[in-house]
Amino acid sequence: MGGVLAFQLYDWHYFFAELMNGLTLGSLYALIALGYTMVYGVLKLLNFAHGDVFMIGCYIGWFVLTGLGGVLAPRVPLVPLLLLMFAAAMVGCGALNVAIERFAYRPLRNAPRIAPLITAIGVSFFIEQTAVLLWGANPRQYDFFELRNGTLFNPPAFTIGNLSVQYAQIFVITSAVFLMFALALFVSRTRTGKAMRAVSFDREAASMMGIDIDRVIMVTFLLGGVLAGAAGVMWGIVQSSFNPYTGFGVGLKAFTAAVVGGIGNIGGAMLGGILIGLAETFTAGYLTSTFQDLVVFSLLVAFMLIRPTGLRGAPVLQKV
């Protein structure tokens, strides 16, 4: 009797830990997915390079952390340190994303559909290999576990009843939700947000209404890059390590999150991100960790075949 109870208790613990992992991962996917979905909305472009922008965010955070003395002896207190890391990564990735748009995608505004796609793959590959060239292919990590007697936050976790919750995960989920909320407000309340929605609804009509298309697209890329940069630092805080190839795989899943939620739909991207994060974590935790990608990608392929417009997307009408 006791053994069974202990097993169930253990199991419940395990489930809760996996749930928290899944939610954390999911909110990161959601942040990245927002960049994909916004760009897809205004440009109808699958921006393969977005995942690599996120990877650059991981590195920028790492360099700020290391430059300020590293994890063992940081020269500034924890809160400014974190703020600096986030600010640097968000500014850097935003600028990078704007530069990518300006130099790689803008010349192709009116090219056949396949041309910007191939360019996007080229940009993704270029950023990835540049990172390998500059910083090497070895994985790096923030090593927050060594900070302050072992953790970023001290104590590392609090408990509700029997369940322990890690502060780092709470931190990541909260800041991700905050950023998403800010973005939703921006898109729904500001003039530029309105322009973004107009462009994504019908680019030509919006341009005839006097909306500066190039500027709107630039702002979209900027916002996407900022979110990806924040996600990069968060990834460094909660995940064990990252390397130049991290961005591609994460970006792939985040893009699918955008598709699952309904591409072009901002609320859908958040929903999709959480779902993919949960699906991935539970697959790894309960089914198989070796073939985790195989299972997750197969599920996604199946989903995209059954419902290509996603959970919240409207059916696509083809206009001529």
Binding site: L46, A99, F103, A104, P107, L108, N110, A111, P112, R113, I114, A115, P116, L117, I118, T119, I121, G122, V123, S124, F125, F126, E128, Q129, T130, V132, L133, L134, G136, F248, G249, L252, F255, T256, V259, L287, T288, T290, F291, Q292, D293, L294, V295, F297, S298, L300, V301, M304, L305, P308, V316, Q318, V320
Partner: protein
Amino acid sequence: MSAEVPTPSGPQIGADEWVARSNERILGPRGPFGAVVRAIDRTPRIIILAVFVGFVAAIPFMTSNGYIQGVATDTMLYILLAMGLNVAVGWAGLLDLGYVAFYGFAAYMFAALSGGHLFTGGVLLTDWPTPAAVAVAIVATIFLGFVLALPTRRLRGDYLAIVTLFFLEIFNNFTNNGDRWDWLGLGGTHDVTGGTTGIIDVHPWRIGGTELTNYSRDYMWVALGGFTVLAVALMYANKSRTGRAWRALREDPLAAELMGMPVKWLMLLAVAVGAGVAGFAGSIIGAYHQQVSPDEFTFVLLITVYAMVILGGAGSLGGVVVGAIIVNVLLEVLNRPDHARWVFYAAVLIGLIVKVRPWRLLVAVLGGLVAFGVIVNQIVGAVWPRGVDGPIAVGPTAFTKQGFFAGAIRHWLVLPAHTYTIPHYTIGNYAFVIVLGLVLALTLVKGWKRWVLLVPMIWGAAFVWENLLIEQAPTVRPLMLGVILIVLMTTRPAGLFGQQRVEIV
């Protein structure tokens, strides 16, 4: 009417691009390069093919150098791959990102059938005759292409790209861990793919009782034979009803559908034909390398084949062949620093000669380059003597200060000493980022500022090349592929030999 025809330099009001460029099209490409292109255009395709095949077939008789024969074999395999991808990407306009998974699938299939490596110990399938194994591998790959494209037929272009890319990821995940395939925990554990080692000891092809064991020579002939058949078949396919339908699909799927073309069937067919060609190449690669390893069939290979197709000109059969040859030879050359150096400076020089007109400007730019380098060299030498005292790389681990070239570079560039002994020497890294910024800035400025900016940019590129890139061949090779894709797509999407396509709105 030859030189008097004005070429429109910008968009003309009231005339769309197609009409505005009609004179250009009638005259055809101009200049010395244009003359060559026109001469090739006039020659029947079959003759060009015969000359090419004859030349390649004779390579083993011209040189007994195993390295050159090996490069020729690799190039032939790449040509096959690029031709197959061209069907899906260049003709039908479908972004098939799972392409190398078909190639890998066929390689595993052939290895399993011919060598008896499937299902631990080869109880199930063993020692098939080569023709049967190849045929089954190709048919299975075509079938796989169908199966993958069948459900995606409802999806629009980008979704096809992402689903096929997922397929590649699934394939890589499976082949890398396939030595402990456990049916997702529902069955026993089986060794299906050999895991990260892959399948070793794949049997060679046996044709008419002879084993093809003179690897680089025999498999080049095999690939060449397949290429000849395929090239002729694809030439006719391109002119056929289906070929025209594919191009219509590429230009406008909606219009094609309205014309009553079976769009979905055409998409399936394009992916499957591409898969079949990859299947043939895949059944060669295993036997040629005598092993199949999962890290061959990854995203890097996909990008390589894409760069070949895009460089040559997607949609042009001859173009992709040339693209495959250029890219593969270039990648080989980049492996050796002393060879790579020649390619770099030759490319810079040719680029300047082609792009910088009139010749006075060219002379000014070249002179400015030399002067700029010498001045910077003198200044740095005065302030920081070690900065101009480094050797240049001539081999994987060999450096020299001797010789004309080394002397010239040492008096023109800045070569910090000991660069090569300290890993991650960061001057090269910073310079790389700065040069990247200069290149991007160059696309923004116009007029004389561009020519002024060009000089430090080229000098900086040479600096980065000598101090950082030349010893990083494994990274520079893929980096260059990415650059090829971006630069070609944004400046010349038709590639070297493709048809310029004009969007008519």
